[in-house]
Symmetry: C2
Subunit: 566 residues, 2 copies
Amino acid sequence: MSDHKIVVIGGVACGPKAAARIKRLNPKADVTLIEKGEILSYSGCGMPFYISGEVHDHNELMQTPVGVVRDSHFFKVVKDINVYNRTVAEKIDRQNKIVHALKIDTGEKLEFSYDDLVLATGSETVRPPIPGIDLKGVNILSTIEDARKIKERVSKFKGKNAVIIGGGLIGIEVTEAFVKQGMNVTVIEKEDQLLKNLADPEISIHVRRELMRNGVKLAIGQTVKEIKGDDSSEVSAVVTEQETFPADIVLVSIGVKPNVKLAQDCGLEIGITGGIVTDEYLRTTDKNIYAGGDCAENKNRLTNEVIYTPMGSTANKQGRVIGDNICRRNTKFPGVLGTAICKVFDLTIARTGLTEKQCREKDINYVTVLTPSPDKPHFLPDAKLIIIKLIAENPSGKILGCQVTGYGEAAKRLDIVVAAMSHNGTVFDLENYDLAYAPPYSPAMDNIIVAANIAENKITNTGMSCTPAQVKEQIESGKDFIFLDVRSPQEYEMMRIEDERVKLLPLGKLREKINELPKEKEIIAFCKISLRGYEAQRILEGEGFTNVKYMDGGVVCWPYEKYVKA
Amino acid sequence: MSDHKIVVIGGVACGPKAAARIKRLNPKADVTLIEKGEILSYSGCGMPFYISGEVHDHNELMQTPVGVVRDSHFFKVVKDINVYNRTVAEKIDRQNKIVHALKIDTGEKLEFSYDDLVLATGSETVRPPIPGIDLKGVNILSTIEDARKIKERVSKFKGKNAVIIGGGLIGIEVTEAFVKQGMNVTVIEKEDQLLKNLADPEISIHVRRELMRNGVKLAIGQTVKEIKGDDSSEVSAVVTEQETFPADIVLVSIGVKPNVKLAQDCGLEIGITGGIVTDEYLRTTDKNIYAGGDCAENKNRLTNEVIYTPMGSTANKQGRVIGDNICRRNTKFPGVLGTAICKVFDLTIARTGLTEKQCREKDINYVTVLTPSPDKPHFLPDAKLIIIKLIAENPSGKILGCQVTGYGEAAKRLDIVVAAMSHNGTVFDLENYDLAYAPPYSPAMDNIIVAANIAENKITNTGMSCTPAQVKEQIESGKDFIFLDVRSPQEYEMMRIEDERVKLLPLGKLREKINELPKEKEIIAFCKISLRGYEAQRILEGEGFTNVKYMDGGVVCWPYEKYVKA
């Protein structure tokens, strides 16, 4: 009856997508899906929102948009896919093309022969060898079962103490969920910044502030030594070298690693990232075995380097591509840009492509832009600030990366850059995108277009600037320069950088009082967001000053201590 | 002192932008800006939001984001630009390179010589020769003065009747503003749909519904014959061939036309659209005269045709490009895509590129996708529906246009397509964009990626579909076919298309009851949003049915009468 036997191992995202795509392209295909858990095709990324209470019932995470639960029966009657859940694939016999599996509940041994095999075995949460990690109340968040356990414990200890070990994406999302459930939350991060893999420090600092604004306690740069328990083996505290944090529940979220045991055992190549190696058709080193989703490594389409960036979105896309290729469609997967986004209470933080740190490490000649401005015309009462950091190759203008944070519409600007980068777009291209404009949606010059304009100014040496970090370094080294604040006295009253080098001279007075400024001294101009700072630089240069810059992002983006009127 | 004399005519968007850019690139340039109105550099697009009350003070429309008013003094002391407001440019003497102008308040004649001249004379609102158009209370919305007059009258007639003549972008925005000010509003549109230039009927129908939901009365397909007044020449009613609408205030917004008199009088070429002809450097047929913003015509970067699409966003971008070119930077303006967006109460409607109607008129071989789905995972309580219509060339996959509407995040998806189209992107490219994914921002497979997937299915003949309009036509022609609703009985109870051809057979029962369906008859399957409809099509084809399609967008996108449970 069937001409093509396919076995798919892994039933969360990439696996079911591949299986369903195969059945749609070839309804006669004989497709079997093996999943070790109870539950199939669920939104793992939705789990923090179940813990927070925003999703009321965990079943909703497994339903189609119209409320149909994707269980074994659904896969059989709707998609004609044979599902074996609570079944562990134990071994792949590549020679005979057989998968050996074990049914968990009965101990029954099963064999599945295949023409093509899909590995979608996902990732597992890293469990570091911290003393006390096995105490009751210490959790990871990997499966829906984990999420249910966490939620149960949170209800029991409402108002008590939670400790999150690891300030990455999942740690931050669960922090918010715990706060919404009324817990006192402490985040312990061993690096010197939160979300270090996601963003540069002047962007991720806003996450730190937003967490503090919401009452979260932060222990940055601290390493956990031990988790302590009470007499009945219930967790009671987390101990770092500096402090002891009482804890009624602990989440360990220091990262995930690809689940590659099956692949490794049958001799498939594993890459330097730890993920399964695939080609651009998502084929492993065995031409009849494909791999996608969290178990496989990826190609960065910008740099062509291999990277490991597990994402539910990528897993779904790859499932489709694998389905295509198993049905002989020769579809290439172009790779990823390392895009990631996170909501932190009311704040968004997102990035795509390379961070500045990565550009520096790669010795790329680049310019960076840091531009804060309202996400729609400032005259609309619901306009909210977003800060864009855009990085472009110098002088080609090729966009290398973008980071956006703020309380306003950040995701749109980021995704526009994702699209641009998918076509090797430059800031010169971006400047003239005909983006959708009406006041409820954006300023007439969209924030991302302004960012591209500023990048162009820098590449063409029209706008000479330095970053807040560079200014800070100059200040700390005791260097003499004029730190020229060109805002109004009223603005200065409200918020200012306090340093003896700061001189207040409003832009409107600059031409008139230009003789007060020494031509031989370095001048770094700034304002609230850097537009007037740039204007000041151009005015001074026009008057023969030769050592003038402006500071990116103005006082709004100054991430260090500053005076703010209470 | 100066090496380069530039005169800019027009002080709203393109003009001030060009002037400021020139001064930044060349601080020694001698720049003069002539504006006939009192006010400079204001957000004309913000006026409806001033009328609605969202912007409290019209001065906010003229301020920089940090609250500085952009008046003549500001332009002089900050930007060193000589501003002549309330000054009308009357004649351009191209031979001697002189602009002759008149100071309105004093009657003084002025002459400005130039090396380069910028025409940014904007557009004017069309005033059709309707009897009664000069009555008191009949307004156009072109200047801030107009906006103030309208707002004053609205305050006076709160709770009374307003009539909007013209259901285009501005008409719709002001409709919302009037409703927010407590008026009873009627919109009269002579075409058979609102926003006809913006979107295809199955998209713009949602605007019609949203207006009605907000108590707006619609008179679609009606032409105004006369505006009636009372004894003191105050407007009292608007009369169409069918009806008479009482009116205490009327807004006439049937369109704008480029302001080209100056250009025409001095012999510059005017195009078939009525706008000033420019080359890709935005130079007119005189190499020392540039034109941009609403007075100039544009190139559609997709089709290379000339179009007239006045937009504040374009005006600003063009001002910058003109500034570059006057400073010898040789910057090209690549053209526009005809992007537009409008907020209608809680609904967004937006489009870029070509509509289906335009594709049909151009005899392009295309596929269209109509896909409704929540803008983030359905399990999040704030997920809201958006409907995407994506149009791609067949079989190249090149994206030709996109329309998005709905209560959810529509602008982001549209702008992603704008970016794609700016690079001649295809749906095959779009399918694998590494867009930012986390549940608060999008489903794992973003709506726009799903739309690209569906387009690919159609191009590869995997998904065979027809539009609601095609089905409606078949029904009306009395054609026999099975209109297969594959939803659950519960869903059918809530909402359904009522026709004798409709047969309910839930997807989960389809394989089991497949023999109930005749193989020789045409079958058009559908569900709520068309995912299960597509699945049904593939299942039936797998079982040897040869004449099966699904209907785009499912019952959600059925724009005709349907049963909805109260």
